[in-house]
C-alpha cells in the first residue's frame, strides 16, 4: 500500500473536518497575507519547506497551505508547569521571515502565560472558558514537568490555588491531542534528575491519554511548529518512536547525520577543547559527545534559522532529547563508554568493543544505540 497516498487522503479528509468547524476569521489567509505584504509565492515556499521538513513529498505542500488557512479554527492551550520557559523562548524563534506573525494570526492561542495580555483572575477565566468552549477540539501543549510529590503542592497556578497536577489532568481530559513540549514535559527533565526532590514526572505519566513527546532542552522551533502542523493537517498523531517522539524529527541518531561523522570514521578526534583537532573540526566523541545515543534532527535542521547547533559550536551533544539524560549521560565531557542505557544489555557494546579494537568505544556505542532504536508500530 502506498502509505503516502493513504496519508494524503487522510489529510484531505481532515481538511473537510476542519472546514466544518466554526470559522474564526471572515477573510481568507491569502487576503490577509496580501494586506501584510506577503506574497502567495513566499507563502508557497514556506509550505514546501514545512512539507520537506516533515519528510513528505512535495504534493503535501498544498495540504500544508490549506491547513495553514484552516488552522485558525484549532484552539491551542499552552500550559506552563515546572519549567524554565526555554521551550516558549524556542517557540517564539520560529524561523521563516514573517511566519511567527502569521502563526499569531491563524492559530487561536487561547492560553499561554508568557504571551497572553490578560493576567490573574482574567487569565484564569480565559483558560476555563477555552476548556469548556472547545472541549474535545483543542490542542494541548504542555511545557514543564508535573511535580507530584506531596500531592503536587510544589506548584500552584491561579487565584484558586490549583496544583499543576490538577490543572494538567483537567486540561488533558478535553484535549484533542496532547503535546509535551520539551524534555521536562516529556520525561520530567532537569527537576526529575536524581534525587528528584519534587517527584517531577512527564505528562504521559499522569494522564491516561496518548501524549506526543518532543524531547529536547529545548526542542528546536522547527520540531515544535512542525508537530503542531502535522496534527492540524492530518488530525492524528504522527508516527512515533518507542518514546512517543515523532519519527519525522527523531527518527535518526544525531551521529548518523553529523557533519563531523567523516572525522569519526577516519578516527580523528578532538582530544581536548581548543586543540588543533578542535580548530580543524574533528569528532567530539572523546570530549563527551552523546550523538551516537541521541535521536534528533539537530545536525540537519540545526537551531535558530539554521544558524548553528552545539556540535558546530565545538561542544559535544549532551543527549538532551533522551529520557533521564541528566543522570544517564553525565558527566558530559566524558564518553559514555559502556554504561547501560535505557536498561539495554551491555553485551552488544562489549561485542562491538572486542571485534573492533582501537576505535571500538565509538563503534560499540553505535551497536547499543541501534538496539534501542527499534520503535513501536505507528499509532493509528
Amino acid at each position: 500500500m502506498d502509505t503516502h497516498e493513504a496519508l494524503y487522503q487522510q489529510g484531505v479528509t481532515r481538511m473537510e473536518q476542519l472546514r466544518q468547524l466554526q470559522p474564526r476569521h471572515g477573510e481568507t489567509l491569502q487576503e490577509k497575507m496580501l494586506q501584510n505584504g506577503i506574497s502567495r509565492r513566499d507563502f508557497m515556499k514556506w509550505t514546501a519547506s514545512v512539507a520537506a521538513m516533515l519528510a513528505l513529498p512535495l504534493p503535501f505542500s498544498t495540504l500544508v497551505a490549506e491547513a495553514a488557512e484552516l488552522a485558525n479554527r484549532v484552539p491551542l492551550i499552552w500550559l506552563h508547569l515546572a519549567e524554565c520557559t526555554g521551550c516558549s523562548e524556542s517557540l517564539i524563534r520560529t524561523d521563516t521571515p514573517n511566519l511567527d506573525a502569521l502563526i499569531f494570526d491563524h492559530v487561536s492561542l487561547e492560553y499561554h502565560e508568557t504571551l497572553m495580555a490578560a493576567a490573574g483572575w482574567q487569565a484564569e477565566e480565559n483558560l476555563e472558558h477555552a476548556l469548556e468552549a472547545y472541549k474535545g477540539n483543542y490542542l494541548l501543549a504542555v511545557e514543564g514537568a508535573v511535580p507530584t510529590a506531596n500531592n503536587g503542592a510544589y506548584l500552584t497556578v491561579g487565584c484558586k490555588g490549583h496544583t499543576g497536577l490538577h490543572i494538567v489532568k483537567e486540561a488533558a481530559a478535553g484535549a484533542a491531542a496532547i503535546i509535551s513540549v520539551g524534555t521536562c514535559a516529556a520525561f520530567g527533565g532537569v527537576q526529575a534528575a536524581s534525587p528528584n526532590p519534587t517527584g517531577a514526572k512527564g505528562v504521559y505519566e499522569v494522564v491516561d491519554k496518548p501524549v506526543i513527546n518532543l524531547g529536547g532542552c529545548p526542542p528546536s522551533e522547527k520540531n515544535i511548529v512542525g508537530t503542531l502542523m502535522y496534527f492540524i493537517m492530518f488530525g492524528k498523531l504522527p508516527a512515533l518512536d518507542m518514546f512517543n517522539r515523532p519519527k519525522w524529527a527523531y527518527g535518526a541518531r544525531v551521529h548518523d547525520n553529523c557533519e563531523r561523522r567523516g572525522r569519526f570514521d577516519a578516527g580523528e578526534f578532538v582530544e581536548e577543547f581548543g586543540d588543533q583537532g578542535a580548530k580543524d573540526g574533528y569528532c567530539l566523541y572523546k570530549v563527551g559527545c552523546k550523538g551516537p545515543y541521541t535521536y534528533n534532527n539537530c545536525p540537519t535542521e540545526r537551531f535558530n534559522h539554521h544558524t548553528s547547533w552545539p556540535v558546530l559550536a565545538g561542544h559535544g551533544c549532551m543527549g538532551c532529547s533522551e529520557p533521564n539524560f541528566w543522570d544517564e549521560m553525565a558527566d558530559f565531557e566524558k564518553p559514555l563508554g559502556r554504561q547501560l542505557l535505557h536498561g539495554l544489555d551491555a553485551t552488544t557494546d562489549t561485542i562491538g568493543a572486542v571485534i573492533l579494537g582501537a576505535t571500538a568505544v565509538g563503534i560499540g556505542a553505535h551497536a547499543v544505540a541501534s538496539v534501542f532504536a527499534k520503535s513501536e508500530e505507528e499509532e493509528s
Binding site: 476569521h25 494586506q35 515546572a82 524554565c84 520557559t85 526555554g86 516558549s88 523562548e89 524556542s90 517564539i92 524563534r93 511567527d100 506573525a101 499569531f104 494570526d105 492561542l109 487561547e110 499561554h112 508568557t114 504571551l115 497572553m116 495580555a117 493576567a119 490573574g120 483572575w121 482574567q122 487569565a123 510529590a149 500531592n151 503542592a153 510544589y154 506548584l155 500552584t156 497556578v157 491561579g158 487565584c159 484558586k160 490555588g161 532537569v190 527537576q191 519534587t198 517531577a200 532542552c217 529545548p218 581536548e272 577543547f273 581548543g274 578542535a278 580548530k279 534559522h305 548553528s308 552545539p310 558546530l312 559550536a313 565545538g314 561542544h315 549532551m318 541528566w326 558527566d331 558530559f332
Partner: protein
Amino acid sequence: MSKRVVIDPITRIEGHLRIEVEVDENNVIQKAWSSSTLWRGIEVILKGRTPMDVGLIVQRICGVCTYSHYRCGTEAVENALGVKIPLNAKYLRSLMQASLYMHDHIVHFYHLHGLDWVDVVSALSADPALAAQVALKYTDKPINAGEGDLRAVQERVKGLVETGKLGPFANAYWGNGTYKFTPEQNLIALSHYLKALEVQRVAAEMLAIFGGKSPHPQSIVVGGVTSVRDMLSPARLQEWKQKHAIVNDFIIRAYKADIVMAAEAFGSEPSVLGGVNVKNFLATDDFLLGDGQYMFNQGVIMNGDLAGVSDLNPDLIKEDVTHAWYKADGPQHPYDGTTVPDYTGFVERDTVYGKLPTVNGDGKYSWVKSPRYQGEPVEVGPLACLLVNYARGNQVVVDAVNGLLSETGLPIEALFTTLGRTAGRMLQTVIVAEESLKTFDALLTNMQSDESTYTKPEIDPNKEYVGHSMIEAPRGMLSHWIRIKGGKVENYQAVVPTTWNAGPVDVNGNMGPYEASLIGLKLEDPTKPLEVIRIIHSLDPCMACAVHVMDFKGTDLGAFKVNPNGF
C-alpha cells in the same frame, strides 16, 4: 473597609508568581505580598555531580536569561579551581552576553511589558496617516511606522477584534484610564510589537553564532569556550556584526523612540511616577571591553544617596527565610546557607473575586528567599546598574542618562520611578549594543597573535575548593556560590536578581522591592489591577531563577510533609 486582591498568574513573565494586595476604601494599596508558587530543587540535584557539568545544569534554572546562569555557574567553578581562561574566551563570553541583552530587553519591553503601556484596542481607532506623522516626532527614521505599515497592522488586528476572539489579546485590561498613549501612539507601538517578533529572532541568532543555539547555548566549558572554529571564521564574525547592525537599528529607531514617546505620554500619570520605594541599589563589574576595563562597574548605593556610592562587599550578603517556605534560625551567607522546605499552603478569605485561598502574610508565603545586603533590602537590575555607574561617574552612562533626561525634559528624580526603571532598561540596551563593538574589535586584534580559547582545568580530589562568581544578568546582579569536595559538588547556592527583588518580608519586617513598590499605589478598578501588573513587570520577574534550594547538610528532603490545601 479593606479589600484583598489576588493576582495569579502574573502573566508575561518567566515562571509562576502570585501577587496579593490589600486596598483601602479609596482603592489605595496598604499592604502587598509577593509569592512564588513553584519549587524545582535544582541545587539539591547538583550535589555530588562533577563541577564540569554545573554550567549546563544551572543554565536550566532559566530559559530566558539562559546564558547568564550558564556563564555564572561555569565561572564560579573556575573561580573555585583557580582556572585562568584565555583572553579570546573572555571576549567571546562577553559578545554572547551582549547578544543576550539585546535579545532579552527587546522581548521584555515589547512582548512582556509592552501591553501594560499599549492599549491594543485603542490602536484600532487611530488614523494611520496621522500616526505616521506622530512617529517622526520621536525619531527621524521610524521603523515600520509609515502610513502603509500602520494601516496593515491595524487591519490585521481589526480582523481579530471583529470575530470577537482576540486570541492572546483577549480579556486584558483594555480601556483602563491609566493607558495614556493616543490611538496613534498606540498604533505605532503595536506595529513595533509585531516587528520586534522578527528582530528578537535575529538577536537570538547572534547568540547562537558563538553559542551553538539559543535558548540554552552549549559552547562554554570550565576553562574557556568551544566555538573556536566560529571565532576563527571571518564569515562567522561578519555574520555576528551584520545581525548586530539589524538589531541595533531597531533598538535606536524603535525601542529608544518608543520610550521617549512613553516618557512624554506617561510623564504625568501618577501610577508610574512612584514604584521605587526601596532606594538601595547593587551592581557588579561586567562586560569586558577591549582595554581590560568593564562597561559597567560594581558598587552599592544606600538610601538613594548618589553621592555616597561604596564598593560591593560579597561578605555582606545574607539570605533570610523568615517568611519563605524554608526553615532556618537566622539570615545566612550563601556559603553557609541551609534550606529545609517548610510549606504551609494558603489561608481562605474574602477577596474582590469572592472566597479564595490567599497567602498567610503573618507566616510563610513564598518559595523565594529574601537576600539582604548589610541587613537591608536592595533593588537590582538595569536601573540599579545605571544608578551605580552614574554615581561612579562612568562617562558612557552619565552621557546616556543625561541625554535621555534632556531629550524628555524629565528631572533626575524621574529615574526613581516605574517609568524610570523601564527607560533605564532601554538605556542599558543602547549602551550594551554600542559598547560591545569595542569587545568585538578587541577580539579581532587579539586573534592576530593568539588563537587560544581553552585552559584545561585540574581538580585534586584530595582538596576542598570554594568559589563564587558575580555577573550582571539582564535582570540584575547574579551570583553563584560553590563548594567542591572530593572532586564533586559539595554544595551550591545561586543568589539571583529576582530573589533580591521579589523576596517576602524579612525578620525585621522590611519588604523587598516588589512589595514595597506597590504600597501607596491607587487602583482605578481593584478587579482589573493593571497598575499592579505594570509596576511588577517593570522589575522583569524571572521566578524560576528566583526559586532555588540547597541542602548540603544532608537533610532528608523526602521526609517532610506538606498540605497543598493547608488552610
